[in-house]
């Protein structure tokens, strides 16, 4: 069971990002509504998932690279510090972003938007504390870190992206077809607050 736990956490974080309207399902719905096309809703899911996955993979790549040169303890300390900093930044300036992608965007723009949103949220950072031990347990001898870190990280991205895409798709289609965007008025709870708290708590655990 404990072996499964990190993978469940990765999937859970994917589901959390999938649920968040600011991570993509709402944009897919809006594009579908503005262009009056169910097809656009479905098509939009792919660049949204791809942008999100690239953002997360980029963060994990940096961590794996650092894992080659840092002791596990220092790696945790560095990751925790970045998480705490990100939480503070997001709480203070999360609202202040250049808007580069609008409602007439194509699929490339949508992918870039998803990448920027995931990166701005620090989506990949939350995966770090899950992925570091996975890489370490997979390779008790540090010289093997590289060999195992790559497949483990890729699997982590795949699990996370898979659940995120699945949840995004289910919500986007349900809202487009049946529920309607009136849901947003009361249903759009402040997931950012939860996210900031999660970033900060995870950061604290890592540095302590």
């Amino acid at each position: 069971m404990t072996e499964m736990t990190p993978w469940l956490v990765l999937a859970g974080l994917g589901a959390f990002h999938g649920v968040n309207p600011a991570m993509g399902w709402l944009f897919a719905v809006a594009l579908g509504l503005n262009r009056n096309s169910r097809r656009v809703v479905w098509l939009s899911l792919f660049p949204i998932a791809a942008g999100h996955a690239v953002s997360i993979a980029a963060v994990l790549a940096v961590v794996v690279a650092l894992g080659l040169v840092l002791e596990p303890h220092s790696l945790n300390l560095a990751a925790g510090t970045v998480l705490l900093g990100w939480a503070a930044y997001y709480a203070l300036y999360g609202h202040r972003h250049r808007v580069r992608v609008g409602m007439r965007t194509g699929m490339v723009g949508l992918g870039a938007w998803s990448f920027l949103m995931a990166t701005g949220h620090g989506a990949g950072l939350m995966l770090v504390p899950v992925v570091i031990p996975l890489c370490l347990t997979a390779s008790p001898a540090s010289e093997l870190f590289t060999a195992n870190a790559l497949p483990v990280s890729l699997a982590a991205v795949a699990v996370h992206m898979g659940t995120m895409l699945a949840v995004t798709a289910v919500i986007a289609i349900a809202v487009y077809e049946w529920v309607g965007v009136a849901l947003l008025r009361r249903g759009w709870i402040n997931l950012d607050l939860i996210w900031i708290a999660a970033l900060a708590a995870t950061g604290l655990v890592l540095v302590s």
Binding site: N36, G102, A182, L184, R185, W188
Partner: protein, 464 residues
């Protein structure tokens, strides 16, 4: 402070906003044309069931004199729900109130007591000039990148005028909005099509050409604004200019369709140099460009020279002077203020190229001086000017002053302020609410009206 749920006054679509509850309060900008006492935001009771209906029930005075409060707006609105730039956990709480003459920005908190708003921050003109390079602040819109403020001139009172951004949380001046302004130099109004990533701006003139009143030589020389500008809302680059031609002067209020899928809107042109008529134009998407078409001509009315102010005596006619327009939430009815003749016109613009006149009232007017059932003075001056529509489209409010320096050019006896309300029929048709007439306290003139919870010129939407 971030909230747990979106503000209840945010609606994803204009269709949903049209079902919003009726407003109980209206906020009205009031200024002293003599610049002796502070301008104010007045709170007017618009709840028909209230004992103080049609009365000013609160007021917040500005800290200085001579601001010339004019237009103003909310810190946050329905566009906070947009999917590409979401920041939904905000409150529609603060009024952002600029001084058109002073270039000073006031942030006014309408909570905890909406009838007793309080100033919580004042941004001085020097800060705006230093950080944004603009002055003479005019229109406010909440939008994807925060609070947009436009300004009619640079700090020296010359061209160019343009737009700058305020942080929607701290209200800090973030800087100039334009990245490439192309041929645009003059400013007046701005708004956008969120569904088409397009900003639209219109033109008046530079402050040195209107702060002492309209200059006849500049007007007759067609040197005031006469163009529309179209921009990419997100790259902030100028895309296209449309010149209405030498005949047309003062291209003012912009009212894009609320439905984000519709790529058209309406703009009023104050005066034609050929025959003093006013006109309404529709801008629309034509292939991959924007185009305009004149859809309404409102002719001048012949008048006896003895009844006309000096500026108009030679023409023997009253110009309609369309100085404000407003579009209902369902994009069906366009209201047109004729500040010269005193008419408020209601057009059915369901087909934006073929408007039908479906309602009309007259009040004030340069010659007509038409009265109101509840007015004690039987000859009202000023005319229909800043007009605002309730979200459900059933009530229309308007006031009668245009601009301190221009009021006496057309109403030389002075303007006694008033605010009135129209009731709107199910399928058009307008009539005065005989119980609503605010005889504005002497010393102030009323200008823009904003309704509690939002109105038809305060919010923009990303969902149809």
């Amino acid at each position: 402070m971030a909230t747990w749920q979106p503000d209840p006054s945010f609606y994803p679509s204009p269709r949903m906003a049209a079902k919003a509850p009726a407003e109980n309060l209206a906020y009205v900008a009031a200024f002293d044309p003599e610049r002796r006492k502070p301008d104010a935001i007045a709170v007017v009771d618009v709840d028909p069931k209230s004992a103080t209906y049609s009365r000013i029930v609160g007021q917040v005075d500005m800290p200085n004199v001579g601001d010339e409060l004019h237009h103003f707006g909310w810190n946050a609105c329905s566009s906070c729900l947009c999917p590409n730039a979401p920041h939904p956990h905000m409150e529609r709480r603060y009024l952002v109130v600029p001084g058109l003459r002073s270039s000073r920005l006031h942030i006014i908190d309408t909570k905890p007591d909406p009838r007793n708003p309080q100033i919580v921050r004042v941004i001085e003109p020097e800060e705006v000039a230093e950080k944004a390079g603009y002055s003479r602040l005019h229109t406010i819109h909440c939008g994807p990148e925060g609070i947009y403020v436009n300004a009619l001139g640079n700090p020296e009172g010359k061209r160019p005028g343009g737009i700058f951004l305020l942080d929607p949380v701290s209200f800090d001046v973030l800087g100039k909005w334009e990245i490439d302004r192309g041929s645009q130099e003059l400013a007046y109004d701005f708004w956008w099509h969120l569904g088409h990533d397009t900003m639209v701006t219109s033109e008046w003139g530079t402050p040195d050409t209107f702060e002492e009143g309209l200059v006849p030589e500049i007007l007759l020389g067609s040197k005031y604004g006469r163009r529309l500008h179209f921009w990419d809302l997100h790259t902030r680059k100028h895309l296209q200019e449309i010149d209405f031609g030498e005949e047309y002067q003062l291209v003012f209020e912009l009212r894009p369709a609320h439905d984000p899928t519709k790529a058209y809107g309406f703009v009023g042109c104050v005066i034609s140099l050929k025959d003093l008529s006013a006109s309404i134009w529709t801008w629309y998407r034509d292939g991959d460009r924007w185009a305009v078409r004149k859809i309404i001509d409102i002719p001048a009315e012949p008048a006896d020279a003895d009844d006309l102010p000096p500026m108009l005596k030679g023409f023997g006619a009253v110009p309609p002077l369309v100085t404000d327009i407003d579009l209902s939430m369902d994009d069906r009815f366009l209201y047109v203020s004729c500040w010269g003749t005193g008419d408020m016109l209601q057009y059915d613009v369901s087909d934006p190229m073929n408007p039908r006149l479906v309602g009309k009232v007259r009040i004030g007017g340069i010659v007509s001086r038409a009265t109101h059932p509840k007015a004690v003075n039987g000859a009202l001056n000023g005319g229909p000017q800043m007009v605002e529509i309730s979200r459900d489209g059933r009530r229309v409010y308007f006031t009668n002053s245009l601009y301190g320096a221009i009021d006496p050019q057309f109403y030389p006896d002075g303007i006694d302020g008033w605010m009135v309300k129209l009731d709107v029929g199910e399928n058009g048709g307008i009539a005065f609410d005989e119980n609503f007439f605010v005889d504005w306290p002497k010393g102030h003139r009323p200008h823009q009206v904003r309704l509690e919870g939002g109105d038809c010129s305060s919010d923009s939407y990303c969902y149809p």
